[in-house]
Symmetry: C2
Subunit: 202 residues, 2 copies
Amino acid sequence: MSRPLCAGLVFALLAVLAIERGSRPARAGAPEGIVGPQYTPDGKLVRPSGYRKWVFLSSGYGMSYSESASNSDHLMFTNVFVPPADYDYFLEHGTWPDKTLFVLEMYGSESKGSINRHGHFQTELMGLDVEVKDAARFPDKWAYFGFDAAQPSSEGLSPGKNDCWKCHDQNAAVEHTFVQFYPALLSVAKSKKTIKEGVKLP
Amino acid sequence: MSRPLCAGLVFALLAVLAIERGSRPARAGAPEGIVGPQYTPDGKLVRPSGYRKWVFLSSGYGMSYSESASNSDHLMFTNVFVPPADYDYFLEHGTWPDKTLFVLEMYGSESKGSINRHGHFQTELMGLDVEVKDAARFPDKWAYFGFDAAQPSSEGLSPGKNDCWKCHDQNAAVEHTFVQFYPALLSVAKSKKTIKEGVKLP
């Protein structure tokens, strides 16, 4: 075995060891390699990979919960994905299993480009917001992490009941997830009667 | 066996027989039940099912290729999906395999609803546009079909070089597909050099 290849293997082994795997084994039905959230030894969330082959829930354009508006004509798209096994669990139960991962992609937009003349299409990845349900690791169960377009790991927002946590806890339709903005799941939550009391639906 | 159950089984059998299956067997890596386009005996395309678990390519909001603008504040979102095996083929080759299916979902939108104040989120399914690559069935290789929110089959647009066909043939970046509006695939097409000559990219 040549030295560079050998060094590469050692590096790869160290990289694998550096990732403290979640306590859950790969779940039946989950695509290869999806085993829930993974953390670095110092407690950062490893950037989820392969999520473009997960299940798409919905997208929004320029969504904002704040009263102050942006006047930009190039607002961001948000695309939301969950692992297939978590999606299947939701269809059956109307709730999320422990170790659920939500990936919200932020994409820049353009209006006039190629043959498009009106409306907006997606252009380039700006970053990810990731939400994790992990009761063993987080006393408040759900935790929130931000990644720029290429960042490999994220230490996340201040632990516990930060502003994201509070807003999701108060306003999200099911547990900490804004199912009211995912039409295909909203009907499931209604039929399973898992929508939180007092939440305002569209 | 009770009569109603027996009748149900006969009905189910007839329903299965009524679907003339595509010539391609289920492909390795394709989720169960995805075998390419299926047609009724009278040549209609059967509504694709299960596409919400296919691979999401991108979404647009209010996109229009026409110079005349709509003034509506409730434009439609379009979400595009392809079967995982077709997506994997594209990543490898930068082109689409025969029997590729494209599903473009149209969703209504709202701006103010639940806690959202600005921008737009998706509300209800309005219909599907489906594009099929099937060289054995269509002399012009690609064909175009429309479905309303629940329609089980579609006879499609006039066969051959209709307006959809012509626009896709002239303006779509790769074969008949608007890869210029799917950022994750555009970089693949660039590296594989499969973008049609003369096509205007964003």
